[in-house]
Amino acid sequence: MTGTFTPMPGSAPLSSQVAAQTRMETRLLLRNGEQLLLAIIIPVLVLFAGVMGIEYVDLSLSYKPIDQLTPGVLALGIMSTSFTSLAIATGFERRYGVLKRLGASPLPRHGLLLGKVGALLVVEAVQLVVIGGVALLMDWSPELTLRGVAGALTMAALGTAAFASLGLFVAGALRAEATLAAANLVYILLAAGGGVVLPASTYGRFADVIGWLPSGALGGGMRESLLVGTFPSGPALVLLGWAVLGTVLTARTFKWE
């Protein structure tokens, strides 16, 4: 006869652990008002404001405004989710002992990371549907070649990897409040001056520098894929470089407590 609490220890299979972690993190992210603002509302507003603004300010763009802007706004969404949201959430998980608690559970560290990546991808899919849907309603007509779509997906994956590793680096190295401030500040700076939404060419003599930023590479790559329909090899390499740098920095400095 066994009792209610008779020991029967064991780990759930890694796949169910990762699925549970992804579900939980996605729910928490979508429940948080500030995160939703960052993930959905700001990009949609940028899309509206951008289209209206371009009508007044001549930026000498060779495509119609909505086609020009949408790839960059998608890039902005990827940046906000994989960098800012992830950094802030992880910073507070560290601060409130969530990482420590999970560290004492059967969930291994790579399971935790996979769960986080899963949650990022789910949120990014939601962003793609909402932002892409709004853009289509505004008469967006992307250049959907095979190379272009492959390029956009590659950009999304590499952009997520680069920004997520940099976000974890910030969250692992700074205190939670400092992470909150830094992640928002970097987001605003890169969104305004990092070549995400507007092409590097509109930044005049800074154009070269901007192409080397992860924001400029992601925005430029998305535009090349969805405007021109070619595979953006250059931006892909830049993002890969940032992803490697971010991963090395995170692996060296991340503290779980």
């Binding site: 066994t2 009792g3 209610t4 609490f5 008779t6 020991p7 029967m8 220890p9 064991g10 780990s11 759930a12 169910s16 652990q17 549970a20 972690q21 939980m24 729910r27 928490l28 429940r31 948080n32 507070f92 998980e93 409130y96 002992g97 969530v98 420590k100 608690r101 560290g103 004492a104 559970s105 059967p106 969930l107 291994p108 407590e257």
Partner: protein, 314 residues
Amino acid sequence: MSSAVSPAVEVRGLRMAYGDKVAVDDLDLTVERGSITAVLGPNGAGKTTTLETCEGFRRPQQGTVRVLGLDPHRERRALLPRIGVMLQSGGAWTGARAEEMLHHIAALHAHPLPVQMLVDRLGLDDCGRTPYRRLSGGQQQRLSLAMAVVGRPELLFVDEPTAGMDPQARRNTWALLEELRADGVTTVLTTHYLEEAERLADQVHIIDRGRMIVSGTPFDLTRGTGISTIRLVVTRPFPDHAPASLQAMLGPPTHVHPVNEFSLLITGPADASTLGKVSAWCEEVGVLPESLSLGQRTLEDVFLQLTGRGFEQS
């Protein structure tokens, strides 16, 4: 030695320091399977550091630690599914609800307990849809305990399980820990509540300033040495020289420990001669006894006698 017969926890010569502050100093600790073991000590005694080393969060700086026969640092992945951990604070997303959090931890284990049963047992249904950050301290503690238990561990580490709980919740928690023991779960708990250790534990280890000062069953520690205690409480503060003059009057083997300015603890043979001397001394120094009681030692008396300090004031 196979892990089936090894003790649940075996710590030998553990030393841990943070900078030049020594937190744990040459500590030995053995926990037999199926027992409740209390690690008792004032705040800052080194209890949490010891526990976290057993949980694999910290690598021993000196000495060895084996938990269920495993090295908790090197063999952490094999160990973690088998233990349940209750952290002293935090450990949940601030925006998560209690049941949601418990379901999540349950989903990481192969054969979790039914979540609803734990919710009922620990009264977590009163948390409702409130996010973790707005739960009371006691509710957070109960959730934290539930998260430690839900994976059906063999060995449970609970750090200050009833801190911040109301009396009802504390009794529920004790009943749960006793039922876990009856079902074969080993529990190591840290506490600074003497009553908790005395009531629950099979073995008590008292730690002070990183060192183990005494170990034994609560019975051994409080009754084992045949010494009784006399507590003297007076109506006005003692004069400064009081403990010394009473000590001089009583002589060895009796010991006088000042508890505070109104009360003294006298350990030694509580016979008529000692009582007579205590009364005479009260008259001599001009204090009026409010109560003079004889009794068995409590764990607090043991701590006082071994360290020369009261438990709460240290």
